[in-house]
Subunit: 489 residues, 2 copies
């Protein structure tokens, strides 16, 4: 699409200043409507070096209320960000409902530049484009308005601009080596951009090419596009997003009733195995750290199934400087007002580190589904979204292990009763636990569906039979050991 783009000689209307002023005022009114309707907006500014993105952006937002937008300059990738999945730094900066984020260069710029300079392979490049498509789609499916601009100038125009900037002492620093390199390789970049934009020109997040030859016209184009995109969304209630068929390779089906919950081990075996597993884990953790492999362990299970104690035994074999345990309760306001995976994205470990989640993103298809905290379309879409999320983690290089900690209804009742009757355990049991217990059958159905739809080869579920907690703990540790050993080869 970029390759075929024709720069046209456009007359600049004499009243352009007035048009711009009006458009800016109009936009600030639209912003208040976004605030009122709690709609979040993601605006991506991509384009050639020296195409004037920063200046234009500054002008466009001049009349907007600065409390309700953020401008994110993404040119430098921090050390910490380098140790996370490549979309992490963008996901982290998505706006809250009613707010807007303007990305001054975004994910397109990152991946095309890295590919051009051979910092990522062809395979990685195409994988990343796929990740980007999924990212943009899941944003839109979850209510975000995604608007993508490409600031286009010709090779000659770019050369002229950088030349002019370089001549002046005060503006010299604004020209980067990459800008100069890009100008020399304009044609190659044009091809790459063209292909990238063709592939990612999805109906839910189309591209808008801005002729940036004239700065005022560029401003006007951006303003008008922003307004029409927002207007369209304000006029139409969000439709249910289509459910996507599963495309991921699945492992064999899990049926909870197939698991024999009477399995157990003796105290003696437990002590011996615990010691052995700890030792092994200790060694493996060291290797993970040195090979910079991230590990994500997700715990789900019935209330009182023994998740806490299980996690404690796994971590007792780890170097405390290399892991974090995240207990996941109800989301904070700032979490509730963003894409539901945001609060997990922001808790991802650095490479070489381990993150253990005590309850996870699967809350979406259990408690949120059953308590009506999200719409039906939301939780139905979530199976695929979570598979995609875990695939991202896997592609990044992570080991993803998911545990379902299983007990039977009678065991839960006994443990609840014991907690209720033991003063120092009472904090562990709430009214809500008892209420959830009444919905056992509904939960059972939801859990079966979840286990079936998300048991992928790259992020498999393991059922831990936890009527005998000791058995479950040793089983968990052995699975963690096995999965790490498998990856280390």
């Amino acid at each position: 699409m970029l390759r075929d783009y024709q720069f046209e000689q456009i007359e600049i209307a004499p009243d352009i200043e007035e048009c711009l002023e009006n458009a800016k005022l109009e936009l600030s009114k639209k912003q208040m409507l976004l605030k009122e309707k709690k709609l979040p907006v993601v605006v991506l500014f991509e384009g050639w070096g020296a195409s004037g993105i920063g200046t234009t952006l500054g002008k466009v937002i001049q009349n907007m209320d600065p409390r309700f937008y953020n401008v994110e300059t993404m040119n430098k990738i921090s050390e910490d960000e380098q140790r996370k999945p490549f979309l992490y730094r963008y996901f982290l900066r998505i706006p809250e409902n009613g707010m807007a984020t303007f990305y001054d260069h975004g994910w397109m710029n990152d991946v095309t530049r890295e590919y051009m300079h051979k910092q990522i392979s062809k395979k990685q490049y195409y994988q990343r484009i796929e990740s980007i498509q999924k990212f943009e789609r899941t944003l839109v499916d979850n209510g975000y308005i995604v608007i993508k601009f490409f600031f286009h100038i010709s090779q000659l125009e770019q050369a002229t601009r950088t030349h002019k900037l370089l001549k002046n002492k005060n503006t010299k620093w604004r020209v980067s080596d990459e800008d100069l390199w890009q100008n020399k390789h304009y044609d190659e970049y044009l091809s790459l951009y063209d292909e990238y934009m063709n592939v990612t020109n999805d109906t839910y997040a189309p591209w808008y090419i801005i002729d940036a030859t004239n700065k005022k016209l560029a401003q006007l184009q951006v303003l008008e596009t922003l307004m029409s995109c927002i207007q369209e969304r304000l006029e139409h209630e969000k439709q249910d997003a289509p459910l996507i068929d599963n495309v991921f390779e699945m492992r064999e089906k899990i049926h909870l009733e197939d698991y024999d919950l009477s399995v157990n081990i003796s105290e003696e075996t437990y002590r011996r195995e615990l010691k052995k597993c700890r030792k092994k884990l200790m060694k493996l953790h060291n290797k993970l750290y040195r090979k910079k492999i991230p590990v994500i362990i997700a715990y789900e299970g019935w209330d009182a199934a023994g998740k806490g104690g299980n996690i404690k035994r796994v971590t007792s074999g780890l170097d405390p400087r290399g892991y974090t345990v995240y207990p996941i309760a109800a989301p904070d306001k700032s979490e509730l007002n963003r894409h539901y995976l945001w609060r997990f994205y922001k808790r991802l470990p650095k490479d070489g580190h381990i993150a253990i989640f005590d309850r996870t993103w699967y809350g979406r298809v259990m408690v949120e589904r059953l308590e009506g905290f999200c719409r039906e379309n939301d939780w139905q879409r979530a199976y695929n979204e979570m598979n995609e999320f875990e695939k991202e983690l896997y592609d990044w290089g992570a080991i993803v292990i998911k545990f379902w900690v299983q007990i039977d209804n009678q065991t839960q009742l006994e443990r609840f009763t014991e907690r209720q009757n033991t003063p120092e355990k009472q904090w562990k049991i709430t009214e809500e636990d008892w209420r959830n217990r009444e919905k056992w059958d509904l939960y059972e159905n939801a859990i079966e569906e979840m286990l079936q739809k998300t048991n992928t080869v790259f992020a498999p579920w393991y059922v831990l039979e936890s009527v005998d907690k000791k058995y479950a703990r040793i089983k968990a540790m052995k699975i963690v050991i096995r999965e790490i050993e498998k990856r280390l080869g």
Copy 2:
């Protein structure tokens, strides 16, 4: 205190393993009491290189519930952290109520090492020690238990250990250049540590020297100290912290009734001045960025005083890539469960950037005071705590500007009524606004007290007469310009 410490030959009891096991179990029970009573604990592990902090820490916490503590390894300062006040990275990691943070090396290590290697001057060094004392005190005053360990070994022991580690291929990487350097300069370090510890050995956060010659004994000492510190706190309700006399240089007293609210400017003057101020700000912003000077602008004022519009005019003269506006509403759960300044600390700008707060930490002595969201001792202490906080920012190099946006009671009523009657402005007005309005006199008293007690020379208040909003906007912009120009010299 460290210099006089005598290493003693201690017999190791034959049942040490059992003692350790018991102590670890005991500690895990104490942890549950902390959780129940919502007490937050900060544990600092400082000490010589190769004194075995990591290993000991790993053992000590083995029986604790990993969902309720964090181990923070602080050896590397990230690029982002380098661009913040030096305590930022520690403040950011303080635990929530009921949780514990274990710092694997902390602020003592940072400042002593930097001073030893002449990365900071003598003056800076002593300034930082003062900051540290205030930091530890404000944590304790706000309910934190602060426990500080120093792992002590002799020069010979350190040399033996590093030598042994270096001989083995697999452990070689654990010895840093700094460890070797430290061993060569053991005596100098001893003097520095000794002095540092003497100065910071405050009753609210005393030092515990751990003889780390024998690893098991070190473990036991740590475990027993942790338990007795926690036990003591569990047995005694927290007392009101003493109020500290102001020691900061103050500017002349502000009396709100001295301000003539009828001041105003014409539309024409406004337009002209706005344009001029924008231009100046644009240039100054560039210089701030290049000189890496951070700016913090705090807005407080009556509801409907015109804070939002005022901020908008100031930012309209700034490069959007270099500032962020933070609207401050009621704190999130994770914020409410920490020191009340935490949510502002985490929003501090990088050096060279500007942070604008729409409502601020002063909520403590206004809404929190008047609505009883904190105890009397809390808000009374807060004046000094906020002066100290702003002094930290100033010492870091920040320009701190505080605006009080002033209107009279009648003007507020008119604006409220207009908002209520204008459909697109209704979102701006809530029941709460009307309720607060009834307490005008109480607020007025609280505001006067706040302006008097926090009008320091390093972070002064400026009153903006905002019955004519245009007047207030130009005044704010001119003050920002003047303060920046003053700093740039």
